[in-house]
């Protein structure tokens, strides 16, 4: 059965291998120069405040140097798209094509149980899906390691250099691509088993996977571990101030004391810790954007409150999220076994 699976999967596997190879060539061609730029940036061995400056300088330079911004974005895009592509082109047709072309009548009447037939197909193709996606991620991780290090030290706001927890970066690095690939693949297979037609199954796979990939980081990932809270005097952090009439807002996107932390929310609070947005009367006369406003608000007891996930939790988050996706994948696979054995055609 392993040999038959390979015979039927060979063309797709070779396509994936070619894509991996092309990506590897692109990264290998640009990676060494990227590393030399990093070496020249003096981030290695920096101390205190010089780190953020050196990191920002390095990232600014990269952002202005072709082809790094393109490769940086392309790489993340490819890693994010790979599970969806695999779910659509490997997962959805896996069983649906057999049902559509009625070849199940051939497959299921050989001297091999349907459970074993499905087990081998799911395991081999699923492992290949995970290997391809994680392979892309590992290669890219090697290439982008200097950028990640610099981004951790000094968030620059540059298009190149996202923090480890930032939305697309977290999804493209570490071990999460394993989970995404397994989930997208089994999602496609399940859609194919249920809809019995490959093309609708492909469409529904894309729709559901995209929805999950948007919903998870927005609503589930921040709560995987209880967030930490900290507060400080208004003026002690760099951030963005927005003043409009009597409305005041202050947000930070980087905690100097916690490099690489994931800022979930930040904002001004009063002395009692309540969120505030209206400039009190005592400070209302000061010109908006003027240098006196922040000291005045600080004098009124205003502080900045920050909710965040520390950088040290990065791998715990990676592991938890991967485990959740793998559990979903196993549940879907289990359902496919049950469905094909009990309900059938």
């Amino acid at each position: 059965m392993i040999r038959l699976t390979w015979l039927q999967f060979r063309a797709q596997a070779l396509t994936a291998a070619a894509a991996l190879a092309a990506f590897a060539v692109l990264l290998a061609a640009t990676g060494p120069h990227l590393a030399s730029l990093y070496a020249a940036s003096r981030i290695t061995g920096c101390r205190g405040g010089t780190c953020a400056t050196a990191a920002s300088g390095f990232l600014s330079k990269l952002a202005a140097t072709s082809p790094y911004p393109i490769v940086y974005v392309l790489g993340i895009g490819l890693i994010l798209a790979a599970p969806a592509i695999i779910g659509i082109f490997w997962g959805a047709p896996l069983i649906a094509r057999e049902l559509e072309a009625r070849t199940f009548a051939l497959a299921w009447t050989q001297s091999i149980t349907r459970t074993r037939w499905l087990a081998v197909k799911l395991t081999l193709t699923g492992l290949a899906a995970m290997a391809v996606t994680e392979g892309l991620s590992l290669m890219y991780g090697w290439w982008a390691a200097p950028i990640g290090e610099a981004a951790r030290l000094g968030y620059s706001g540059q298009p190149v250099g996202m923090g480890p927890f930032s939305l697309p970066a977290f999804d493209a690095h570490g071990i999460t691509p394993l989970g995404y690939a397994a989930f997208a693949f089994t999602l496609g297979v399940t859609a194919g088993v249920l809809l019995r037609r490959a093309v609708p199954a492909m469409a529904i796979t894309l729709a559901i996977f995209a929805a999950v990939q948007v919903a998870f980081p927005l609503w589930i990932r921040p709560h995987l571990s209880p967030a930490r809270h900290t507060s400080a005097a208004l003026g002690s952090y760099n951030g963005s101030t927005h003043v409009s009439g009597s409305d005041f807002a202050f947000t930070v996107d980087h905690l100097p004391s916690q490099p690489g932390a994931w800022i979930l929310s930040s904002g001004a609070v009063n002395a009692a810790g309540q969120p505030v947005s209206t400039i009190p009367a005592a400070c209302a006369k000061l010109p908006a954007g003027g240098p006196g406003l922040t000291p005045c608000l600080t004098g009124q007891g205003w502080r900045v409150a920050i909710t965040y996930q520390p950088a040290s939790r990065y791998w715990a988050f990676q592991a938890t999220e991967t485990a959740i996706y793998l559990a979903l994948a196993l549940a879907l696979a289990g359902y496919c076994f049950w469905r094909l054995n009990r309900r059938t055609t």
Partner: protein, 297 residues
């Protein structure tokens, strides 16, 4: 005699519709059995249940004495050629044979290669580009090379041209003669069944209307024509399968194990096709078979 396929109260439903309902039958082993019936009689469903592709909603079915597809060993005992002989379009003919060898421990590769050469299939050709007749031949080869105890074919020749059909059935008969395999073959082409089957089952709306050896069925059915007569006045051993009357004349199809002596009747033999059509016609009320021996009830 052991049964090749034995079903009791067998049913399969999809949501609210029954594809097969309360079907009870026994198909003997060691025969080439034709399963014939109108579209929707449940033939395909019955054969899919027998090969374990479907699981019964109700009732039980056993194949060669065991539930279908319970184990690799049981799967190995049953060869199946599905309707229109589905194959993997992108796999070559040779790949299909390799698949057969990989997935079937009892695979007879020499037989498979010989059959492929006999029917003139190019091993390098992709299955998607084969003609209907070639597909059927390849599917039959895959099923035969398993060396099954029972070979099940669902409308194997329905979509083939007459020449390809003849070739296919000849190949089937040669293989059966060589290996003594039991065969169950569904078809609505009575001429095909006549050529290959020695046992016949007519299935209408999941029920067996008639079952028996072809030669015995032909010997026990007669076309009687004569002056108009009420069928109720016939001897007790004569079951009326079909009747038609004009003002002066009656034409009956009767089943009886005794000779018809009444000189009023002109007695003619019936063809298998006439017999099958009479049993398939839902307008005909088929009497339950009376006991062969003993008093008619």
């Amino acid at each position: 005699m052991t049964a090749a396929i034995e079903a009791t109260g067998l049913g399969k439903s999809y949501r609210r519709t029954w594809a097969l309902r309360d079907c009870t039958l026994a198909i003997p082993e060691g025969r080439v059995t034709g399963l014939v019936g109108p579209n929707g009689a449940g033939k395909t469903t019955l054969l899919q249940l027998a090969t374990g592709q479907l699981r019964p909603t109700r009732g039980t079915i056993s194949v060669l004495g065991a539930p279908p597809a319970v184990s690799p060993a049981q799967l190995a005992r049953v060869g199946f050629v599905a309707q229109d002989a589905p194959l993997y379009a992108r796999m070559r003919v040779a790949d299909h044979l390799r698949m057969g060898a990989w997935l079937n421990p009892g695979w007879a590769d020499e037989l498979a290669q010989r059959r492929i050469a006999q029917v003139g299939l190019d091993p390098e050709q992709r299955a998607g580009s084969l003609s209907g007749g070639q597909r059927a031949q390849l599917a039959l080869t895959l099923a035969l090379a398993k060396r099954p105890g029972l070979l099940i074919l669902d409308e194997p020749a329905a979509s083939l041209d007459p020449l390809a059909r003849r070739e296919f059935l000849r190949g089937l008969m040669e293989a059966v003669a060589e290996h003594g395999t039991s065969v169950v073959l569904s078809s609505h082409l009575v001429t095909d069944l006549e050529r290959v089957c020695d046992y016949l089952i007519v299935l209408v709306a999941s029920r067996v209307r008639v079952a028996g050896e072809v030669s015995a069925l032909l010997a026990s059915h007669h076309r009687l024509s004569g002056p108009r007569r009420d069928p109720g006045t016939l001897p007790a051993d004569q079951d009326v399968i079909e009747e038609s009357h004009t003002d002066k004349q009656s034409i009956l199809l009767v089943r009886t194990d005794e000779p018809v002596h009444d000189p009023a009747w002109t007695v003619k033999p019936v063809s298998l096709e006439e017999l099958v059509i009479a049993y398939m016609n839902p307008a005909n009320d088929i009497p339950a078979r009376r006991p062969q021996l003993g008093v008619a009830s």
